[in-house]
């Protein structure tokens, strides 16, 4: 989780990722940031994020992103 938070802070340090639960719904992560985030998450956690995973529910908060990463890692095993 800390590694994910570091990635998020690196992309846009203006958001409070521990508290915010509507990162996508409120437009706090734009499309370019989102694409950068997906790429960095794939490299850091060895997962493949497909268009099916790209829904607001998976990216609205750091917790939701971490749950998605864990699910994708479990599916890879």
């Amino acid at each position: 989780m800390n590694q994910l938070l570091e990635i998020l802070e690196d992309i846009n340090p203006d958001n409070d990722y521990l508290a915010e639960t509507k990162l996508i719904d409120r437009g706090l992560l734009d499309s370019l940031s989102l694409l950068t985030l997906v790429s960095e998450m794939e490299d850091a956690f060895d997962v493949e994020i497909t268009p099916t995973d790209l829904i607001p529910a998976n990216f609205n908060s750091a917790v939701a992103m971490w749950s998605m990463i864990q699910r994708l890692q479990a599916e890879n095993k």
């Binding site: 437009g27 950068t36 790429s39 490299d43």
Partner: protein, 526 residues
Amino acid sequence: MQYNSLLYLLVFLPVVLLLYQLLPQRHRWKILLGASYVFFFLLSRKLIVYLLLSTVCMHYIGLWLERCDRVLAGQKDAQNYHALKTAADRKRRRILWLGILWQLGTLLLLKYFNFFSHNADALLAKLSLPAFLPTLKMAVPVGISFFTLQAISYMVDVYKKKMPTDENLGRLALYMAFFPAIMEGPICRYGETAMSLYEGKPLTYQNMSFGIQRMIWGLFKKVVLADRLSPLVVLIFTKYTQYSGVTVLLGAICYTLQLYADFSGCIDISIGAAEMFGVRLPENFRQPFFSRTASEFWRRWHITLGAWFKDYIFYPLSLTKGIKRLGKKARLKFGRHIGPVVQTIIPLLAVWLSNGVWHGAGWNYIFFGLYYFVLILTGNLLEPLLAKTYTTLHVNRNGVFLRVVQTLKMAVIIVTGELFFNAHGLKAGFLMLRSIFTNFSLTVFRDGSLLQLGLSAKDFAVVFIGCLIMLAVSIIHEKGVHIRQSVAQWHTVPRWCFYYAAILLVLIFGAYGSGYTPVDPLYANF
């Protein structure tokens, strides 16, 4: 029967509201569905078959996808589960593509076949080859560009398991055909609107009051502003060669205002009508002329179309393996800003080509799409450079000066885009643009020819005051004030004076009756 017609406002809508309220809650959706099909039939007659086929197609695709999931779930304990899952995923993808091809195929055939055949035959003629593609006589059902996108979003969302399949064909049919939104949108998502349509909430004073107010505001924009500007716009865009550059520029500015007042006005009427039934339709406009960049403009103008393209074209394409690989290479080579921008080039191109083509079968629409593609891509590429420049020059990015400059820049960009959008062909668009720079003369304001463009001095005065009212309302909305909620808290006398004044404003200054030609909603043609 248009949304601004007396038949719709004084007969159709009140009858539907009455029947809706009289029926028990569980049957109310049937009234909405019946009314929607009657409305569609009155507009498109036998072409209603396309809407029915589209609905049945998406219904069965949803059921088929669900059956695949059920079968796979029953095999969870099988030893070869991973192989079964891979096969099921492949099958689900094929089912989805079948549905998309059906929906898009119908749209492409009805709206774009003749455009394709004309251009293919013209190309063959240039190569001295015989033309062989026929011109088909096909009528296009109203709203097909809108309900096709709604059908595709439902199927994709079910495929993505964003929501379960809806086995209720009636509920799906209502989502597709809901009469306030069938002509011009807003483009709804199943997950956001279908349940509230089906719920059959009772009519309430607040919903009725807020809905009527929203409709009056929409009527003001449509009937007082947009329809009044129509004769001038039609004249200048049809006979642009006879006018000076200033007149052409005036025509482009007036068309931009007309399109906004017409489209957003009709959307207000749609949202207001839905609100009376307790249904919240998505917003389609958010003060677009306050935008500071092209991408911001498209987040404020025709919001539901932009969001659709982002969710169903931009992101899926950006996350394909090839594009992701390209993005990674670009990030290594060009850094963390330019890299992602490079990754978006192909998806952005696809989005803006689709946007242009969606609006109509014509090269000027394709140019319109590519125009915004270039503007947005350039804006993304130059962003770090701009940020650095502002920092070096100590310019406050949120300061009033920069905000005004950027808004004016966007006004020029928007008017230029709309000039091509409404021009009678791409060549006409370029000729009109050229005449603004080469045939610039202010005599139109001195020799009285301004009043020979289809608008009298009174018309110009009404348009000017109407635009000021629209600007004032936009500023209030931009500040986050909800006008209807504020007015609802006023004392009874001033509140009702306000309501009556709004109605009288539309009745007195509306461009309807003798001397005016009724103007169909502009976006119903797209």
